[in-house]
């Protein structure tokens, strides 16, 4: 059955290699692969194969040869719709997962049709009655082999498509079914040849040979698979290490150089060190599955708060500590709140950054989003806000109230200023 499609590679390099297609294939993906390679519609290729199949089964032979020798790949004919069998969906915890969907009904129907056509074809073929007797077992064998091969393809593809894996039992069933078919076909041929009398002896001999081979080659095979998986593990580790090294090379060394150059400028050194520390932390403790780039716009409250704090910190050089509890997606109201919070951070960094770190706390509880920005600066008298801080009224208080939230500025008894912003999340419009 065709199932999960791979992610299309979008850079066909000039010397194109022929691959069997793993998307939307019916059998081995040979036709699709060829069509993609030759730039022809896949229907033509399939028709040609069917035509050749009529010519004494040459098509089948050719197909089998292609299947055997051409490696499974991705691509083939570019569909103009997204692959129908795998979708990504965003899980509640914000991670993207690949989800296998049910195979296309059309493809199933086509496959069934093909089976029926070949049955009709087989029964209408005019061969000598002796040869005809062999035809059914031969078809059985072919079907069994095809099934097992399909399975092998799937196993290989599963390595590079992290799609919803079929259960192991299913794959085992398939392989088992294939083996059964082949065995039945081969036995049938034996029976046809009138060697049914010797069948028992032959089977015993075959079994003995098989057991012998297993005993001899078994340890080697086991060791080989172990070596392979170990090798794969080592490779993954090496990749991880390389990634760490690259990161360290890129930014940490760079920052250290800059720090040495600016050794006499304490403020700059502090700023550089902070920025690098933050960067490294983000990189080290980034929750898995949130593969967001720096360039992306933040789309949750926690991200927005952290991003704003980082930018203000870089710009004004005052350290900002961020603690976030809970999280929710941004809407127009909370986005306005984030703007106000950023303004508060700028103020705190500019006027209150002398007394130590600015402390930012954001909490999402139910429908309420609360942000507090607190500095330990000299504080100020709200009634006599100097002209240059008129921005506070407009950009913080005004902005919050226009969007239906509240802002409170107060002088903290222990020194410093605290801005509290509270906002109800927008009602779900969807």
């Amino acid at each position: 059955m065709p199932e999960a499609a791979a992610t299309p590679l979008d850079d066909p390099r000039p010397p194109r290699k022929l691959y069997r297609s793993s998307d939307g294939r019916w059998l081995g993906g040979v036709a699709r692969g060829l069509a993609g390679h030759l730039g022809l519609p896949v229907v033509w290729v399939r028709l040609v194969f069917v035509g050749l199949f009529m010519a004494n089964g040459l098509g089948a032979l050719l197909y089998a040869a292609f299947w055997f020798f051409v490696p499974l790949g991705v691509g083939g004919v570019g569909d103009h719709k997204p692959p129908s069998l795998v979708g990504t969906e965003t899980a509640p915890d914000g991670r993207r997962r690949l989800v296998a969907r049910k195979p296309d009904k059309g493809q199933l129907a086509a496959l069934l049709l093909m089976v029926i056509v070949s049955m009709v074809f087989v029964s209408s073929v005019n061969l000598g009655s002796a040869a005809k007797a062999y035809l059914v077992p031969a078809v059985l064998v072919a079907a069994g082999v095809a099934l097992v091969w399909r399975q092998a393809d799937n196993a290989r593809r599963a390595r590079w498509v992290e799609a919803g894996r079929r259960r192991r039992t299913l794959s085992l069933l398939r392989a088992g079914g294939g083996v059964l078919l082949v065995t039945a076909g081969v036995s049938a041929i034996f029976v046809m040849q009138g060697s049914a009398a010797h069948l028992g002896a032959v089977l015993q001999a075959a079994l003995a040979v098989l057991v012998g081979i297993t005993l001899l080659a078994g340890p080697y095979l086991v060791r080989m698979t172990q070596d392979l998986s170990e090798e794969r593990l080592m490779r993954i580790r090496a990749q991880e290490r390389a990634e760490v090294a690259a990161h360290v090379h890129d930014s940490v060394l760079h920052t250290l150089t800059l720090i040495q150059r600016n050794a006499d400028n304490a403020g700059e050194v502090r700023r550089l060190a902070r920025a690098q520390e933050r960067d490294l932390r983000t990189w080290l403790y980034k929750p898995e599955g949130t593969g967001k780039d720096e360039a992306d716009e933040p789309d949750t409250v926690a991200e927005a708060v952290r991003r704003n704090a980082a930018e203000v910190e870089d710009k004004h050089g005052a350290p900002i500590e961020v603690v976030v509890v809970g999280d929710c997606p941004l809407d127009e109201r909370t986005a306005a709140q984030m703007q106000a919070a950023r303004e508060a951070m700028v103020n705190a960094a500019k006027y209150g950054g002398e007394g130590g770190a600015v402390q930012v706390y954001a909490e999402v509880e139910g429908r309420t989003v609360f942000v507090s920005v607190r500095d330990r600066g000299p504080g100020f008298d709200l009634d006599s806000i100097p002209a240059d801080r008129m921005g506070v009224r407009e950009s913080i208080i005004g902005r919050m109230e226009r969007n239906g939230g509240t802002a409170r500025l107060r002088a903290v008894p222990g020194g410093g200023t605290e801005v509290e912003l509270e906002m109800e999340r927008a009602e779900k419009t969807s």
Binding site: R281, P319, E321, V323, V325, A357, Q359, R376, G414
Partner: protein, 249 residues
Amino acid sequence: MSDATEASGTAAGAAEAAGSGLPVGEGEGGRRVRVVLVDDHRMFRTGVQAEIGQTDRTGVEVVGEAADVDQAVTVITATRPEVVLLDVHLPGGGGVEVLRRCAPLMADAERPVRFLALSVSDAAEDVIGVIRGGARGYVTKTITGTDLVDSVFRVQEGDAVFSPRLAGFVLDAFASTDAPPVDEDLDRLTQREREVLRLIARGYAYKEIAKQLFISVKTVESHVSAVLRKLQLSNRHELTRWATARRLV
């Protein structure tokens, strides 16, 4: 992370506590706390020693140092300090392993050894892991010398030391979930405890919290200690997940 706001205790706070009937080691300069430093970075140990180790000025006496788990257990057992400054990431199993092997010393009724975790890490499982292992608090290494001394005295008195970040983790871990609590007493924070934690997360010192909520500093401390107890004993799913997710890379 600068924990300028880490601990509210000042020299005055320490003096207050000195009169509260707790066992206090008397030195020339009043109280003394015997401390062991456990950290695998020699530079960091030297720095901390320089900042807090001048006993006459700070009242802290560094009686031993260790760079890995085995050394730490040996030194702590030999010197029986009152407070251990423990790095979370250590060769040989991490700070959690030291806590595990020193459990009998922690439980000692006469002279308990108390642990304060220090780390550069931001990972919730590291922090929650050492707290569940028995540490009485968690501060980050960027803490100033003065605040570190305050934290040491606080831990020596049996109080808990929460950094804003730890308070944030705890609020997150005890956030209301649909899962019914297994143990009502341990799996829920009271409204008051939640308020105290929120203020810690917002960068308030204990004294400021006391003012804000109109309660005494002692009451704030007892709330924080109660939270610490819940943190160590609760079987909440998030906590266990965080504590067990700690894989030494």
